[in-house]
């Protein structure tokens, strides 16, 4: 009697522990998602200029508004005349706080910079062609210059922008279209390579070969999954990159295709293992019925076994895509990471994950760069969510029919 009670009690405890575990897991997932989006969404509506800094021009300057790309080109020396951005015909003069020494002596600025705001003001009165990047606190009360009107960062400019310079001064360029395109190109290239190869191996192991050979192949494939990704990356950089460069006679070997090949190797174990399991779940009775009707082995595989296991194969592909999207280190090392719009797999590309991994460590916490990397994380999250939803939808339709 007592024994039964104890058992009941302990079962209750186990049930509670299991319930608690699932609650913790769900909570962790929700918290991470909330954290990701709360940091990432703060990017939008911000000025693309560092906090407490201003971009100012002379009061009489006819230019009222500049796009952030124009500002970058001005400070890069690609636009050198105000006429090019709709102003008067005069050469643009750049000024940042570190240039003060060229205009005033140390005594004029003051030992503890007490005259600095005044001097800047004098400069802004004197020079009509100046564009200055200044801390807000150095602007005197009745400041002679005029603050430039700059566009805020919007979802549209973030997603459709083609320039990724998150640390540029004075105005950052946060456009992620090249990164999204790079990610998609590299991943779909990888799946295109891995799917036929993986599926063929899975069919071979499940349907054609005997136990002996399977027992050799299977552990080898599983070993692939255990190799650290940085090893794949180095292998890619030293072997695959020069190989591709020679084969296609390219000026540079760090291209999207190198990333696709490495990723294809990395997702193979996932695809093979899951697809093989799916193929194996086809009931033997169906298989034997097909053979009994006089179908050959290949006909049986193609017409009976594969249609029967299509759900599992789809799942294998999705998990493979998921792994490919999320993989960072190997891709970071072989694709060249140039943030340009790709139009073929034979170009250098920069993926979303590589960008986050390479830049988050040095981005000042809470700054524009930091927020834009979190927003990138949100985009990655949404891409993965969409792929998963599509597959869910496809498999459900298949089940219904």
């Amino acid at each position: 009697m007592k024994n039964k009670k104890v058992r009941k009690f302990s079962e209750k405890i186990i049930e509670n522990i299991l319930g608690l575990s699932s609650a913790i897991t769900s909570l962790a997932v929700i918290l991470i998602t909330v954290f990701l989006f709360s940091e990432g969404l703060r990017l939008f509506g911000e000025q693309p200029i560092e906090k407490n800094f201003e971009l100012v021009v002379h009061k009489c300057n006819t230019v009222k508004h500049l796009t952030s790309l124009q500002i970058k080109n001005i400070f890069d020396g690609k636009i050198i005349n105000w006429r090019e951005v709709g102003g008067l015909n005069q050469e643009i003069k750049l000024f940042t706080i570190n240039d003060i020494g060229q205009y005033f002596s140390d005594e004029e600025v003051g030992a503890s910079f007490e005259f600095l705001p005044q001097r800047i003001n004098e400069l802004m009165i004197k020079d009509t062609a100046i564009i200055a990047y200044l801390p807000t606190k150095y602007l005197v009360k009745d400041f002679a210059g005029r603050k430039l009107d700059i566009d805020n960062i919007t979802v549209g400019s973030f997603l459709a922008g083609k320039e990724w310079f998150p640390t540029a001064e004075p105005v950052v360029q946060i456009g992620i279209l090249p990164l999204i395109m790079g990610t998609l190109w590299v991943c779909f290239g990888a799946i295109l390579l891995a799917l036929p190869l993986g599926l063929a191996t899975a069919i071979y192991m499940a349907e054609i070969t005997n136990h002996k050979i399977r027992n050799i192949i299977k552990p080898i494939i599983e070993l692939l999954a255990g190799i650290p990704s940085v090893v794949y990356g180095f292998f890619g950089l030293v072997i695959i990159v020069p190989m591709l460069q020679q084969t296609f006679n390219l000026p540079v070997g760090e291209i999207g295709l190198a990333g696709s090949i490495i990723l294809a190797i990395m997702v193979l174990p996932t695809i093979i293992t899951i697809a093989e399991d799916a193929i194996r779940t086809t009931p033997n009775s169906i298989r034997e019925a097909s053979l009994a009707l006089g179908a050959t082995q290949w006909q049986t595989i193609r017409r009976v076994v594969l249609p029967n296991s299509i759900l599992g194969i789809t799942a294998a592909v999705v998990l493979g895509i998921g792994r490919a999207f999320g993989e960072t280190m190997a891709v970071l090392m072989v694709t060249g990471n140039a943030a340009v719009m790709p139009n073929s797999l034979l170009q250098p590309m920069r993926t979303i994950t590589a960008t986050i991994a390479a830049e988050l460590g040095e981005a000042p916490q809470g700054g524009l760069h930091y927020k834009s990397l979190f927003a990138l994380g949100c985009v990655l999250f949404i891409i993965t969510l969409i792929t998963n939803t599509i597959v869910e939808w496809v498999t459900r339709r298949k089940k219904l029919s």
Binding site: Q245, P251, V252, G253, N337, A338, V340, P348, E359
Partner: protein, 273 residues
């Protein structure tokens, strides 16, 4: 009870330990060097403990302003707004140059170009020049390799060579110095920049001119020490004057012949004596 005693003893030991610690924080460029210095110093002077952490030059100076570090290491000079912040906090500081860092511009050994001016380098990395024949080489596409924007080397190159202009987006961004050397060695039209100590026989150093092509200087330990090689930057220690007695023994060691020998061993350029 026994456990409690040993725990208390441990806590006291920890406390005593932290009390004698000199904390160093800042530049990631200086991190391997500062660690080596600290290691050697602690071996020679037992009883002192030096705690080195990275995070970036900005992080180090911010910690100096907050008072959470004794020495801030920096791969750049303290900025004006940081000076102002220190002044607002009523703190006086001292600046010491502890070593120099030099960058080599490297190309593939098969490249016929062996010297470039600063203006040409700027043009190459901003995307103005895209073919080697524009800078006196063969008809070959230029492939520019850069470090990631988070790296101190990237900042240094941008400031010293590119007059703060942005890199072209077609530049390939490499995650590590070793990867730049590897890629340049296997790509015919490649050009890259790496810390002076990382070049090897598989890549070719470029002589650089900072006077519109009058004199070209090849990077070497000698030209870097006598300051004829232009792509060199000083590395700094910053500390508050009120902790001077506490940090002085370590700084003396760093500036000593033995300390400067470590600089060469780690791959930076020692100070001229």
């Amino acid at each position: 009870m026994k456990r409690l005693i040993s725990l208390t003893a441990f806590a006291i030991a920890c406390f005593a330990f932290t009390a004698a610690t000199v904390k160093i924080k800042g530049s990631d460029t200086l991190l391997p060097l500062a660690q080596k210095w600290a290691e050697t110093f602690m071996k020679t002077k037992s009883g002192t403990s030096i705690n080195v952490t990275g995070g970036g030059s900005g992080v180090g100076i911010a910690a100096l302003i907050d008072g959470t570090t004794d020495i801030a290491t920096a791969s750049r000079k303290i900025k004006m707004d940081e000076k102002l912040k220190l002044q607002e906090a009523g703190k006086t500081y001292k600046e010491i140059v502890v070593a120099m860092d030099a960058l080599s511009v490297i190309v593939n050994p098969k490249n016929t170009v062996s010297k470039l001016t600063r203006e040409q380098l700027e043009g190459i990395f901003t995307g103005k020049y895209t073919n080697w024949k524009q800078v006196g080489g063969a008809d070959l596409k230029i492939v520019a390799y850069s470090r990631e924007s988070s790296s101190g080397t990237f900042e240094f190159f941008k400031e010293k060579v590119m007059s703060k202009k942005n890199f072209a987006s077609s530049c390939l961004m490499m995650p590590a110095t070793g990867a730049v050397v590897q890629s340049v060695s296997q790509t015919k039209g490649a050009i890259g920049y790496v810390g002076f100590a990382y070049t090897n026989s598989k890549v070719k150093d470029i002589s650089v001119s900072y006077d519109q092509g009058k004199t070209f200087i090849a990077p070497s330990l000698q030209t870097a020490i006598n300051k004829t090689y232009p792509i060199v930057r000083p590395l700094y220690f910053y500390y508050l004057t009120k902790v001077e007695t506490q940090v002085k023994p370590f700084i003396n060691f760093v500036l000593s012949a033995e300390g400067q020998k470590i600089v060469t061993a780690v791959g930076y350029v020692p100070l001229q004596k």
